[in-house]
Amino acid sequence: MKINNVILQTVAKIVAFIILTLAVYLFLSGHNSPGGGFIGGLVLASALVLLFVVYDIEKVKNAIPVDFKKLAAFGAFLSVGTGFGSLLFGAPFLSQSFAYFDLPFFGKTELTTVTIFEAGVALVVVGVVVTIILSISEDV
């Protein structure tokens, strides 16, 4: 099935960026306002899904040469890894920590280990959602 939908493709080009930006924003803001790793990852995945729906799967795959299975596995590794990371500092498994730093340009910023954990969650969500949708849609 050859898709040739100019309007949808043009719109999707711009919208995809907006969604991606939203995803990053949601991911980063999750600590203090609505958002977080799961939602951020899901929004990111939906942007990708939009691209897959509008363009060919092949085309998008060429543009984003990422193996989403590996991405998901890496995410899980990151999440579980942060759990073990806390052991290295003598804290119980999965203890999270946070501190405030004065960074140039950003001013007083809170840096947390939970962000790494959430990044892992986000990557798993993106990887798994895209993997599932791609494998079902490619199965002909």
């Binding site: 609505p34 003598g90 498994f93 892992g120 599932i132």
Partner: protein, 803 residues
């Protein structure tokens, strides 16, 4: 973090690194890296020897789950040290040997990953003080053993052997886990040291005997004791280095270690004494008796390992009697049996390791290990022959090899225990030396078979795969070192005794004075000693039986094959599969509708039943806030959408109506000020709609199903009941406060977790464990979908089971 904990984790880290190294470095055999890891650990543990010999012990704790008292505590005392030295020392030699044994065409990355994985798990077993952690490592050794036995997974026999070993050892492990939990119930601690310090105070507890039996079940299955020994011969399908390492030197000693470790707790009890000694002696006899009839060299060694393990086990049983007498000089006499057990533990690892490697060499060089085809190799493989002779003669209990010393001590132990006058030994005590002696004769016979059948007699080159010649020098180094140890220990046994064995005795008998536990080992007991005459008897009778073995081979036919434990195992496995297939087929109809009915029926019965049984369905809505018009409209829309789904004519309509429900719920989240949930719900709804549309393509035509009126009515009742149960749950969850409120955490999330968003503080911090596991589950689900869809075996694909 102490170096002891790192020493346990080190092999695991190395195991992770190996696949990457293997892909990068192709020129150098990856085994050298694994050997380096093992050797470094050996040196590390060897450095503890002087301090342990001084009576020091080392412990270090890393908190794992402190709220349950489960901590990763590494504890090193004399007993752990023996095992740790064996694991790393024999490990180094086995890896060295395997470098020459396995050709570079094999998937070496996998092999050494598993091997180091095993080494770490095994170190974990012997160095853990916390029994829960010990259990985890215990099962890890079973799993790595499974993977290593099935290393040549293309062969059916490898897979079957792996499955058998896993089934038997893991079931025993489960029993042991229950035993551990019982111990915890009795003592309130997971720490072995603390349990030992309480030993004796809980012997009257109702769970004391069950805990002991379950613990022994774990130990017996792991150490291949009768009747669980059947897995060990089948495990010989593994590559020979694995058999030498896991299935003779280390893993099968884990059960023995467990018995030794728990002797202070259960020792002195009559049941413990008789079970450990009795099963050990029975295994000793049965193993050596079965070994004689084997025609495969490796199978013969497997049965011989079974028998030797039984011998060590029985000595630990005899030694445990010492604790019956408490803190007196009488008891010291019986601790000698335990000393002999430890001594033989080390000796067995040296001579059996060497023998396994020799068999591997023979197999490798001439292509067969069938005794009927072998013969006359002595002139062609003189060095191999020398090592085989040293190993076999040591196993047979001949001087000047270390097996002689421990065999003599074994005879001493079975002779002295008859005089103890406890546990009704007056009646049965005389039987012990007899069984031990008869079993030793069989041991002598098969030891002779190994040497003489393989290396003497006519050389039949036409029956071999390759003409015989000496292996590369590298293959001879490891067995050579072990053979030197066999002789070295015979001449200087007390070095080993004083520095290694005596400290281990202190670990097993903490209540006895350390000075009495040291036993001088001597080769010569004088002409009047019974042990000497027993050994001479073994040699005479053994030689006679060896010469006439064809005449009495009919004895083995007295036991029909179908009465063996092996047939029992396969029979029960077969029946289990058969019956479970029948049961599964009876309800797995292939109709999604039926599966839904099962789920909902279970739901109604379990949840609805609980609600009625506990009587929580009374609820009060007077305190609820009023429902606004806007909310009424939303509810109405959702109800209409929900009902319309039933009457939808096309799939697309049904999907869209369904998503109205989802978005409606999202709107409710917005109204009730739950932005996180609303966001999630909206995106999930969007992505699922896409998923539906993708799957839509593959679905068959949507048509009315012809369902009989009766089942339609049943379905109606089920769906209404599900709806009622759900509504009642939603209303009643508010009604009672069963637990103390934990909202304090959430209110203070900014101080506790540095985040103002309490939802994410829960997800990422307070309940991060749940989130972590959910993420892993998600990943597994994704991989599952991918592999089911993508990796379907195509018709033209050849079967992987080629042998």
């Amino acid at each position: 973090m102490s170096t002891l904990n790192i020493a346990i984790i080190f092999p695991f880290i190395a195991a992770i690194v190996i696949p990457f190294l293997y892909n990068k470095i192709r020129k150098l055999h990856i085994g050298w890296f694994a050997m380096l890891v093992s050797f470094v650990l050996f040196i590390y543990f060897a450095r503890y020897v002087p301090r342990i010999a001084n009576g020091e012990t080392f412990a270090n704790t890393i908190n794992w789950i402190p709220s349950y008292g489960i901590n990763f505590t590494a504890y090193l005392d004399g007993l752990s040290l023996i095992l740790a030295l064996l694991i790393t020392g024999v490990g180094t030699l086995v890896i060295l040997y395997s470098i020459f044994y396995l050709s570079s065409k094999e998937s070496l990355g996998r092999f050494y990953t598993y091997l180091l994985f095993f080494m770490g798990a095994m170190l974990g077993v012997v160095l853990s003080d916390n029994i829960m952690v010990l259990y985890v490592f215990w099962e890890l050794t079973s799993i790595s053993s499974f993977l290593l036995i099935a290393f040549w997974y293309q062969r059916k026999r490898s897979r079957d052997g792996a499955k058998k070993s896993l089934l038997i050892t893991v079931s025993g492990g489960f029993g042991m886990l229950i035993g551990f939990i019982m111990l915890y119930i009795m003592t309130g601690t997971w720490s072995i040291r603390e349990i030992i310090s309480m030993a004796g105070s809980f012997t009257d507890h109702a769970l004391f005997i069950p805990a002991m039996l379950l613990l022994l079940l774990g130990a017996f299955t792991k150490s291949a004791q009768f009747p669980f020994h059947i897995w060990l011969p089948d495990a010989m399908e593994a590559p020979t280095p694995v058999s030498a390492y896991l299935h003779s030197a280390t893993m099968v000693k884990a059960g023995i270690y467990l018995v030794a470790r728990f002797t202070p707790i259960f020792g002195g009890e009559s049941i413990w004494f008789w079970l450990v000694t009795g099963v050990g002696l029975l295994t000793l006899f049965w193993g050596s008796f079965s070994a004689v009839r084997q025609t495969d060299l490796k199978a013969m060694l497997a049965y011989s390992t079974v028998s030797q393990l039984g011998m060590i086990m029985s000595m630990f049983g005899i030694g445990s009697a010492a604790l019956h007498f408490g803190n007196s000089t009488v008891s010291v006499v019986y601790t000698q049996a335990t000393f002999a057990a430890l001594f033989h533990l080390v000796n067995h690892s040296t001579f059996k390791g060497a023998l396994f490697m020799v068999v591997g060499i023979v197999d490798h060089e001439v292509g067969t290990r069938d005794l009927r085809r072998l013969g006359g190799l002595v002139t062609l493989m003189p060095i191999t022959f020398t090592i085989a002779m040293i190993g076999s003669f040591s196993m047979a209990g001949l001087p000047p090899f270390n097996g002689f010393l421990s065999k003599e001590m074994f005879f001493t132990a079975v002779l002295t225990i008859g005089e103890a006058g406890i546990f009704s030994l007056d009646t049965w005590g005389t039987l012990l030396p007899v069984i031990a002696w008869v079993a030793s004769i069989f041991t002598f016979v098969y030891s002779m078979i190994i040497v003489f059948q393989t290396f003497f007699g006519p050389y039949k080159e036409e029956r071999l795969e390759h003409p015989a010649h000496e292996p590369p020098v590298g293959m001879l180094i490891a067995p050579g070192i072990l053979a030197l140890l066999v002789i070295g220990i015979f001449f200087f046994p007390n070095v080993l005794g004083d520095y290694i064995l005596t400290p281990a005795m202190m670990g097993i008998f903490p209540s006895l004075p350390a000075a009495d536990l040291s036993v001088p080992i001597s080769a010569w007991h004088g002409f009047r000693s019974m042990e000497l005459w027993m050994t001479i008897g073994v040699i005479i009778f053994g030689f006679a039986l060896y010469k006439t073995r064809k005449k009495w081979a009919f004895v083995y036919k007295l036991f029909p094959e179908k009465w063996s434990f092996n047939s029992f195992y396969s029979y029960s496995l077969e029946k289990l599969e058969e019956h479970s297939t029948t049961i599964t087929n009876s309800y797995m109809t292939g109709y999604l509708r039926d599966y839904m009915v099962y789920i909902y029926l279970f739901f109604i019965v379990a949840i609805g039943g609980t609600i009625i049984y506990t009587g929580v369905y009374a609820f009060d809505i007077s305190g609820n806030s009023s429902v606004s018009e806007f909310e009424w409209i939303l509810v109405l829309v959702m109800i209409i959408a929900g009902i319309s789904v039933l009457f939808a004519k096309s799939r697309l309509t049904a999907i869209l109506l369904n998503s109205i429900l989802g978005y409606g719920v999202a709107t409710f989240f917005v109204i009730f000020r739950a932005p996180d949930l609303a966001l999630t719900q909206i995106i999930v709804e969007t992505v699922t709609t896409v998923l539906f549309l993708v799957a839509y393509y593959f679905l068959p035509e949507w048509k009315k199903e012809d369902v009989p009126r009766k089942s339609r009515n049943v379905n109606l009742i089920i769906s209404i009941s599900v709806g009622i149960v759900f509504t009642v749950i939603a209303l009643t969850v508010q009604s009672g406060k069963l637990f103390e409120s934990i909202s304090g955490y959430f209110e203070n999330s900014y101080e506790l977790a540095g985040g103002k968003n309490i939802v994410n503080s829960i997800l990422g911090d307070f309940r991060a464990f749940d989130t972590m596991l959910e993420v892993v589950v998600l990943l597994i689900a994704g991989i599952g979908v991918y592999s089911i869809i993508k990796l379907k075996a195509k018709k033209e694909d050849e079967s992987v089971e080629d042998q």
